[in-house]
Amino acid sequence: MQGIRFRRRHISRAGVSLLVVVLLFVAFPSLATDEDAPEQGTDAEESEHFEPIVPRNDLSIGGELYRSECSACHAATGIGGTLSFRDNAPPLKGFSALELAAAIRGGPGEMPFFGPDSISDKELEQIVTYSLYLQNPEDLGGAPIGRVGPVMEGLVAWAVGMSAIVLGLMWIGDRRA
């Protein structure tokens, strides 16, 4: 009996010390990641200097400008949006390139105007290019349901999806309660 008890204690001590070592490595990841550190350094260096495989084009520069300057009111998809007190930022649909450029420079209604100091002529052209693209964007994946985002999607999920499923269930199951 004595011997068995001793052995058990012995094993548990070894187990405990192993556990402590494992916990140390888990709790202090720096112990384990020291070797990786220089590798991470080169990674960061690379990402600072690496060359773009595909350069930016007018559309992608215009898109970046559009998202930072225009999307707060006109929405990322160009569908327009509401402002306070019944003022609306209109959807971009239907405006010509000249009208869009004039609006950016002139700032009609509530819209702020963007002079040549904040948006250069080149950038103006790029934003207009992207705005024209948004009037008829690449529509993958089926009916765009207004491009208004999750509000419409939730509506469709209930009105189309859930209704179809409930109708199907009523067809499969018994309707008399």
Partner: protein, 563 residues
């Protein structure tokens, strides 16, 4: 040979008896009992499509320059997470349709859960002995919301980043521990460098595992406790009338699976959902209008939008305002849901075991409470999309928020009272049919009439508040009210003269007298400038009403020698 193998299994595990029991299990046949199955099948489809997406998704926030096939984003800096999501959309074979099916399945997973919960609530299937399974179900709903939100935030486009930021603000608003907790979650300040990979682990492993476990628990308890059924001929507490699992019910179950799969495949293939390529990469400085969460979180978004800007101070500490409409509301809602079976048993003193269901149309208290809750959440949902809906209705978003704030309180009460008297009326009619000569008290009809009047008054109020303000009249503020009765000259003196001078000669601001550009500006343009501001000139909406501005302009024209 086959017989031999089957016998070998049976001798060791007793499979024959078990199989016979399972195959002979009886299911009641009402269609609403199939809603739970839809949840299960949505989950299976979610896992299947999710595994496929995991093969190509790269949950890393390391910045790269996009070099994929979508031209309008080429060369743009973005995280690898977003870049790989774009690749799934544009390059991976059937990646887009799988992603769309996955997203629609997530929406329907939550929708079928809510429908199933409503069925259970209104028919009182949660009563003893099924309280525990109700609690498991409520936990599943909560986990579905959590997993939906993590999935929505994973893509790292502008929309998902905006959602994440709102989530971050909500965590920040927790009293005392908020800032520490949020930096613990994000691994630093927003947006941090770790959040996508952490959400990824939650989204694809931890939460789905718990959901799987709880779904199994839910079904094991269901099999053990057997199904409830509606009362009817031959149906008693002690029996179940319905179809055996084999062959009829199994075929129905397969049918439901294909139904769910077909609906999801059709939606994923035909209806665009979450067009991430149009939202662009997440930038902490940008935000797009019409940014909303998916519908199952939409009620919390609505509550955030409806909550008045009160600063509630639990002295000496300030509790940030977003804490109440988000965590307090969600905590309260789930607490009530969890506690409901026990609460109801306590209040009605009904501690009996029930296997027969209630008919919702015959319960004059529980059904109205449920309907009132639905109307409350409906108001919150509308509020969550108020910016989009305001454009659809061509309505002031501010008016809409006011109306919805009122509705969030009034509508549940009205719905409760109306439905209660409707059910009582119905019950009384049934009773009359059974015993035609019993004496009756007519106050229920009276109640209904009063309520109808109340509803009419409310509709009238809404309609008038909608139609009365002309399109561009700004609200009267305290300053504008203080100006009432002042002449154009006095208002010019008070609001404009400091900068433009007593006689339009210009002091800090430009001269606006005769011969200047202002003379050529139309009244509308001047009015726009006053309200919107220009250059160093501050915008003045609320300082002057539209009519007051017109009076000021008339005064300016007078000085210019035009008016």
């Amino acid at each position: 040979m086959i017989r031999g193998i089957v016998r070998a299994f049976d001798e060791r595990l007793g499979t024959a008896r078990m199989t016979r029991e399972v195959l002979n299990k009886v299911f009641p046949d009402h269609w609403s009992f199939l809603l739970g199955e839809v949840i299960l099948y949505c989950f299976i489809i979610l896992v299947a499509t999710g595994v496929y997406l995991t093969l190509f998704f790269d949950a890393s926030q390391q910045e790269v320059l996009y070099a994929g096939s979508y031209v309008p984003l080429q060369g743009v800096q973005m995280s690898r997470a977003y870049a790989s999501a774009l690749d799934i959309t544009f390059s991976v074979r059937s990646g887009l349709v799988v992603r769309q099916v996955h997203h629609w399945a997530a929406l329907l997973f939550a929708a079928s859960m809510v429908t199933h919960l409503l069925r259970t609530f209104f028919t009182a299937a949660f009563r003893k002995p099924r309280e525990l399974n109700w609690a498991v179900g409520v936990t599943l709903l909560m986990l579905a919301m959590v997993n939906g939100f993590t999935g929505y935030s994973l893509v790292d486009d502008q929309l998902s980043g905006t959602g994440l930021r709102i989530g971050y603000s909500i965590v920040l608003s927790i009293p005392f521990v908020g800032p520490w907790l949020s930096s613990l979650l994000l691994g630093g300040e927003f947006p941090g460098a770790d959040i996508i990979s952490r959400l990824f682990v939650l989204h694809v492993m931890i939460v789905p595992s718990i959901i799987t476990l709880l779904l199994v628990v839910h079904m094991v308890i269901l099999v053990r406790q057997k199904h409830t059924q509606f009362p009817g001929r031959g149906r008693r507490e002690g029996n179940i009338i319905g179809l055996r699992l084999w062959p009829t019910y199994a075929m129905k179950a397969v049918g439901v699976f294909f139904l769910t799969g077909a609906v999801l495949a059709l939606m994923g293939g035909l209806i665009q959902i979450n067009p991430i390529w149009m939202f662009g990469p997440f930038r902490a400085a940008d935000v797009s209008s019409a940014s909303q969460p998916d519908w199952y979180v939409g009620w919390l978004e609505g509550a955030l939008r409806l909550m008045p800007a009160w600063e509630l101070r639990a002295s000496p500490f300030e509790v940030p305002n977003p804490f109440y409409p988000s965590l307090v509301l969600a905590g309260g809602v789930f607490l009530v849901l969890y506690a409901w079976p026990w609460m109801e048993a306590r209040l009605t003193r009904d501690h009996e075991i029930h296997h027969l269901l209630d008919r919702p149309s015959e319960r004059p208290v529980r059904t109205p409470i449920g309907l009132a809750a639905i109307s409350f959440f409906a108001v919150l949902f509308v509020a969550g999309g108020d910016d989009v809906i305001a454009v659809w209705l061509d309505m002031s978003v501010n008016t809409m928020v006011r109306i919805l704030q009122l509705l969030a309180i009034v509508l549940p009460i009205v719905v409760f009272l109306v439905s209660r008297s409707a059910i009582r009326l119905r019950l009384r009619k049934q009773q009359e049919k059974a015993e035609p000569f019993c004496p009756r008290v007519g106050h229920s009809r009276w109640e209904a009439r009063t309520l109808a009047a109340l509803v009419l008054v409310f509709v009238w109020f809404t309609v008038t508040s909608l139609s009365s303000p002309s399109p561009h009249v700004l609200p009267e503020t305290w300053t504008a009210k203080a100006n009432a009765g002042m002449s154009g000259a006095q208002m010019y003196e008070a609001a404009c003269a400091q900068c433009h001078g007593q006689n339009l000669e210009g002091v800090f601001g430009p001269a606006i007298g005769a011969g200047t550009d202002s003379e050529d500006m139309s009244d509308t343009l001047i009015q726009a400038v006053v309200f919107a501001g220009i250059g160093k000139m501050p915008p003045m909406p609320g300082v002057l009403t539209e009519i007051q501005v017109q009076e000021v302009i008339a005064f300016i024209r007078q000085l210019q020698g035009i008016g």
